[in-house]
Point group: C2
Chain length 292, copies 2
């Protein structure tokens, strides 16, 4: 059996790391049978699965510092046939990569806006002179480093190693315990074929709209879960893109949709929501060893 | 009297437009008495007011398509002495600026990630060949256009005019009715000196944390408002930056904090929240004519 896993390009990104770690967890396939397929944006990564081009996608959902990756939620809502199989929680250690011999030489720092934001205080303290330039991924600007010793990139240690580039310093995140949650996503009719070693589902993700301009319209759906003692681990509002002030709500619940309790909750929920989508129940796997 | 208004640099950004429109609404000062003070990031813009360097700041809060501007919420929570004076809702019309003679010539499109996202379908249809490059603001890359006829920038019509650059096409937003909400912010001890022509406050913004891992912990605060018939116009969760799964909640309510009803709601709310911050009550002003 061969399977393919879509992830955010280019090699060396945290999303690729997450995809490789997930591949290592697969019990029924060898590394050679599991192909990694880089895509240049998150919507393209998810569309690859939705259109059957790849078996799975690994996409970032949320960082403990910067919050939700909005485009992942928006694309999941738009594409009607996806299902979350597993959540991976990966620790993030940002690394300063540069051919400069010391920090004083550095005039520009390139990285993804989220990575720059996660090292903001460190940058203000140690590189106050450097201009910060956003890029599409943490690795995109690595190619500039060899020709410019005044430039630096914030990325992963793995990205430095892959590109044979020197690490100036590592662990430059402003907050310890910085980690990112990823979802492994398949088509929803998919049999559970690509099973990683895992426990039974502990979380369920849903999204819904509620009637507009009704006081308490959001309270009613939340009450359903509170009354049944189901913990809500995350709530996220996203614009419906129709008019300012109209939202979709994405909710993560600490329960399996197949349980009788959740079953009654979801049935009752239908009374208070306009459109409701279930993105699946899944286990959350913390990653403790990121050497791959 | 002279007042100063901090906003996101450089000239030509939508934030500067909003700041200029606000200046026109001020009844007690002339244009010459109201100085616009550009700052290079949103945290710097808000810190300028917090530290007394400027009287006011105008910052983007939310776009009808792309959702919340997270950094505005995070900075407001961190800086303890700010108060929202007014909300402005401004229609956004994205414009393609380039020295190219036709669309086929264009190989790269520069803009702020939110503006690129708001024109994604248009770009896929009309510029499928062009690479999209994120920048710190919608105007940052305008300086490249004169030397490179294969480049284009998505920004405002005003930015094109300010820089004497040609407009290739305008209204390239994927969704009609695209608009952005801004907040005008002052220090919280500020007397209401910089009064624009406006109605009495219709909205109140608050933020709070709730006890972690308690089922229904978020429902109780929301129930307080639902029981009193106070409509919640927005809810936004942001990470506390301590550990994944711990959130702050930012809530907009359709009521004045000075009203007796809101007064009892806020008193009751204290029973169910850990830390609670009130960012002020204010009127929402729709901008219909953006010529300035």
């Amino acid at each position: 059996m061969t399977i393919s896993i879509a992830h955010l390009a280019p090699p060396g990104t945290y999303a690729e790391q997450a995809a490789m770690i997930y591949r290592n967890c697969l019990t029924q396939v060898t590394d050679e049978q599991a192909l990694l397929c880089p895509h240049s944006t998150i919507p393209q990564t998810l569309r690859a699965v939705s259109e059957g081009e790849t078996s799975l996608a690994v996409v970032p959902v949320e960082n403990s510092i910067e919050g939700s990756v909005s485009v992942t939620f928006d694309t999941l809502w738009q594409l009607d046939n996806l299902r979350i199989q597993l959540a991976l929680v990966m620790p993030i250690t940002h690394t300063l990569i540069s051919c400069a011999s010391n920090l004083e030489t550095i005039q520009t720092v390139y990285s993804h806006p989220q990575a720059l934001a996660q090292c903001q205080k460190w940058l203000e303290n140690f590189l106050p002179q450097a201009q910060q330039i956003p890029t599409n991924s943490t690795t995109e600007a690595l190619k500039l480093l060899r020709d410019d010793i005044t430039a630096a990139v914030i990325s992963s240690q793995r990205a430095a190693q892959l590109n044979y580039l020197p690490i100036l310093t590592t662990g430059i995140n402003d907050y310890p315990g910085n980690c990112t949650r990823f979802w492994v996503v398949s088509q929803n009719h998919q049999p559970n074929a690509y099973k990683a070693l895992r426990n039974s589902p502990s979380h369920t993700s849903i999204a819904f709209t509620v009637p507009a301009n009704v006081p308490g319209a959001l309270v009613k759906p939340l009450q359903v879960f509170a009354h049944l003692g189901i913990n809500l681990s995350k709530i996220e509002s996203r614009p419906t893109k129709r008019s300012l002030g109209e939202y979709l709500f994405f909710i993560d619940l600490e329960a399996d949709a197949a349980s009788p309790l959740m079953n009654s909750a979801l049935t009752e929920l239908a009374n208070y929501t306009e459109v409701m989508k279930l993105f699946g129940s899944y286990d959350v796997m913390p990653i403790t060893n990121i050497s791959i």
